[in-house]
């Protein structure tokens, strides 16, 4: 037994050393924490005192939240989150990013796994039953990706005849939207868990089009020059909001104030230009925040 205990101590020591080594090579510092004064008992005060925050975002969405080789998620959503966290007086390197896929976003907020979520999160009424949204901070829209030489599909109405097949991602809002345009879901709609599989089905000819938010499709158009194109204009409006707890009105107004400030001082536009803007997507004018 004594030997075992020694082994445990040695392992613990090795782990501590390893952790120290990992922590040592920090290059980017997000500024220092500042004690700001917020209303007593508010979420902002609590977070500022703790000097730590958990933010939910996507890890697989190019341009918005993509965790690459750097090990940190990068994208527009991440930059927006940083703007808010800075305003809370917390250095951005204190943010712990948590992956919140579409499926678990509401549950992550309700169960206190994260403090807020910025994850291409479309504001809708069904979701508002369980959580609340600040923002919107961006307005995307659904569009259709087709092969560059395809002239038969010019908009969602092309699916009404029943002979064109379309692919989207399972459980996404665009997948639900397109259901209202197709004649028969069983024969026309394919859903995969990632967009890459949809693109491969498009290449293989199993489907004629891929549909989702324009910014995501533009990423594929940009990556494969001349191979694909967007068919027509956006046919829905997808306002992206920031998810917070349903009863935390103060925190929501604080985020809304921060967004409005970021619209004015240009940090919102800069965040876009550094990330999703590189795909050639239009930022448009700043969407008015909705204080409901």
């Amino acid at each position: 037994m004594r030997f075992t205990r020694a082994a445990v101590v040695a392992t613990a020591a090795a782990l501590t050393l390893g952790l120290t080594a990992c922590g040592g090579d920090k290059t980017e510092s997000g500024g220092t924490g500042t004690a700001k004064s917020f209303a007593a008992g508010s979420t902002m005060e609590k977070l500022n005192k703790a000097q730590a925050i958990k933010v939910g975002t996507k890890f697989d969405q190019p341009g918005f939240g993509l965790k690459g080789l750097s090990g940190k998620p990068e994208g527009f959503d991440v930059e927006v989150a940083k703007i808010i966290v800075k305003e809370l007086g917390i250095p951005t390197d204190k943010i712990e990013f948590v992956e919140t896929t579409s499926k678990i976003r509401e549950d992550a907020i309700v169960n206190n796994n994260v403090d807020f979520i910025v994850a291409t999160y479309t504001i809708n009424d069904k979701r508002k039953e369980r959580i609340a949204f600040a923002g919107p901070y961006y307005e995307a829209g659904q569009n259709i990706l087709v092969k560059a030489d395809d002239a038969t599909i010019t908009g969602p109405d092309a699916f009404k005849a029943g002979d064109k097949k379309v692919c989207s991602v399972t459980g996404s809002t665009p997948a639900e939207n397109i259901k209202t345009y197709v004649k028969d879901v069983a024969t026309q709609l394919v859903l995969f868990d990632t967009y890459d599989k949809c693109i491969s089905a498009l290449d293989g000819g199993q489907v004629n089009a891929v549909t989702t938010d324009n910014v995501i499709l533009l990423g594929y158009v940009a990556k494969n020059e001349g191979k694909y194109k967007l068919a027509g204009d956006n046919f829905t409006k997808e306002p992206y909001g920031i998810g917070v707890k349903i009863d935390d009105k103060d925190f929501r107004s604080f985020i809304n104030d921060t967004l409005e400030k970021a619209y004015k001082d240009g940090s919102w536009k800069k965040a876009w230009d550094d990330t999703a803007g590189k795909f050639g997507a239009e930022l448009g004018s700043a969407p008015a925040v909705n204080r409901y």
């Binding site: 579409s102 399972t170 024969t187 491969s200 293989g204 199993q206």
Partner: protein
């Protein structure tokens, strides 16, 4: 829990589609598995090698990978699995005949994968028949086919039926993967749709689809228990 009432049609539709693919894949796997089992015990070495190779490949490969090959390699080879558009059958199992091939791809993958396990369950049953039976049949002048048909298989069936049932139950649960390979509207994919697109809480939805799977698997398990009890009596 209101999701069970509000979205009953989604659950029911998912149940129906999962049931369809399970019935078809079970039939396919039982037939193919029997053929492979015969290959594996055949007296001709090349056929035996073929059977063994089949089982080695499909029993040792993850089902997800088989699904990948089926859904993405078949199209690359220029096949949309149109041979499965069997006239008559597609009237009952409507998804078989659609222009979208993913139901057929998923069916192929489930069948190929499960057949390897069916083969082994059957072979275990055959091995349980005492060798004296087959030797006696051979000494009476029965051919290999007659030997199997009249002496070995009728006896082995009794020993195989329970493991076969477990294989089919496993297959029903494995069918939850098809929703990730382009099949829209089966039980597990419906859960995905309800939770992420429509924002229902995850746990009630998960309980709902679990009930769907249980409706298929529990009666099957009960049936197997009954058969097992009857066999125990017969064996005495």
């Amino acid at each position: 829990m209101s999701v069970w009432v509000d979205k009953f049609d989604v659950f029911a539709g998912g149940f129906w589609l999962t049931l369809q693919i399970c019935v078809l894949a079970a039939i396919g796997a039982l037939v193919l598995g029997a053929v492979v089992a015969v290959l594996r015990i055949s007296p001709v070495p090349p056929l035996r090698a073929l059977g063994t190779a089949y089982v080695t490949i499909f029993r040792n490969m993850p089902l997800t990978v088989v699904m990948f090959f089926s859904a993405f390699a078949l199209p690359a080879l220029g096949s949309n699995a149109d041979f499965l558009r069997i006239p008559g059958l597609e009237l009952v199992f409507t998804r078989l005949g659609t222009d979208l091939p993913y139901f057929r791809f998923a069916l192929i993958a489930l069948t190929l994968y499960t057949a390897a396990f069916v083969c082994e369950a059957l072979r275990a049953g055959i091995n349980a028949v005492s060798p004296g039976q087959a030797e006696a049949a051979r000494s009476l002048g029965l051919t290999f086919t007659q030997n199997l048909r009249y002496v070995v298989l009728p006896q082995s069936w009794k020993a195989s039926i329970v493991p076969l049932g477990s294989v089919i139950i496993a297959m029903i649960k494995n069918s939850a993967l098809i929703g990730f390979f382009g099949v829209v509207g089966d039980l597990s994919q419906s859960a995905d749709q309800l939770t992420s697109a429509e924002g229902y809480a995850f746990i009630p939805v998960a309980i709902g689809i679990s009930i769907g799977y249980l409706i298929m698997t529990v009666p099957l398990g009960a049936l197997l228990d009954r058969i097992e009890r009857r066999q125990a009596v017969a064996a005495r």
